[in-house]
Symmetry: C2
Subunit: 208 residues, 2 copies
């Protein structure tokens, strides 16, 4: 019996190269959860095989900019001339249905989300050490020294953002990290600030 | 890999008759934890078969009152002319060793603990409904109507203290309640305020 019916907005972020995507995937592979993704909105062209509302919500640049103005995006970013963002109304719909919405996003976007929805659960994934992350960034592809150095500099800036998050989860083993996130989700549902309202109803008291 | 090495002080409380003891037992029966009890201190006579430092720390009334004065008790209460309390130094020793210390105490004692050690984790166990609790209080023994009514009145006063806790856990099924508490303990270790210090060391930054 859960005292908090509303889903949680769970923001998974962390320095570049830490393995956010792998952890998120392991999380969704676990059993007995009601985690959902949020479909992003974009201004880029639809590609063959993609479906509107499934892969992305495809909109015009004008529509996207209007949504920014109206505050209807939870977060957004521009990338190679196209906008990408998370529509607020779709996220709220899922949360109202009691599903947790998991956003796996970059450090910058995570801060936008926190401002728009302060009761979200902010999780910062970190490597077991700096060197481990550097190795991963180096071995990612065949990029030049310059590109690798840029990535390392970016990761170093991002490392310092941990204090802006509610939780710090070490990605020592992907399954451990996913377990920890699941524990955080369960614990957050039991938090007094999220559950006291229904509890008061349960025992027949009115909140004053 | 845990970023917070220090154990947590976990306070389990809730209205009389909610099943705190049963939940605590189920919690200790789970695998892979490092939960410890705290041995209480008392002024009552040692009984046959009891050992000092195992069942209780047995002290004189004068010693106990001195400890109260010196603020060396995490919480204490008087019961039928004897004092019972939790020695602060023993709890801190366990926490420093990285063990979680679980205190299962009455609502009144829980508030004392919160004041002495604000970073404890306060968990309020509640029944799935008021009626369920009344039934349990009624069926506990052969007491008179008056005694039962007193208990119900006490439970009703305690019901209203939920807002003083960090978490509200429903004891719908004992194993569910224990699972939730274990999730809370894992999540609390990952909380930024508890883990940022070691994280900063890990990445070679100094906290300012």
């Amino acid at each position: 019996m859960k005292l908090n019916d509303r889903g949680l907005l769970v923001v998974i972020s962390g320095p570049s190269g830490v393995g956010k995507g792998t952890v998120r995937k392991a999380l969704f592979d676990m059993k007995g959860h009601n985690l959902t993704y949020s479909v992003s909105m974009t201004t880029r062209q639809m590609r063959e095989g993609e479906r509107d509302g499934v892969d992305y919500y495809f909109v015009s640049k004008e529509d996207f900019q209007q949504k920014i103005k109206d505050g209807k995006l939870l977060e957004y970013a521009e990338f190679v001339g196209n906008y990408y963002g998370t529509p607020l109304d779709k996220v709220n719909e899922q949360l109202d249905n009691g599903n947790e919405v998991v956003l796996e996003i970059e450090v910058e976007g995570a801060q936008q989300v926190k401002q728009k929805m302060p009761d979200c659960v902010m999780i910062f994934i970190v490597p077991p050490g700096k060197e481990a992350l550097y190795e991963r960034l180096k071995s990612r592809g065949t990029e030049s020294e310059e590109v690798i150095q840029k990535r390392i500099n970016k990761a170093n800036r991002e490392f310092k953002k941990a204090h802006l998050y509610d939780y710090i989860v070490v990605n020592d083993e992907v399954s451990n990290a996913a377990d920890r996130i699941m524990a955080i989700i369960r614990a957050e549902h039991a938090k007094t600030e999220r559950s006291i309202h229904k509890y008061m109803e349960l025992i027949g008291e009115n909140e004053d």
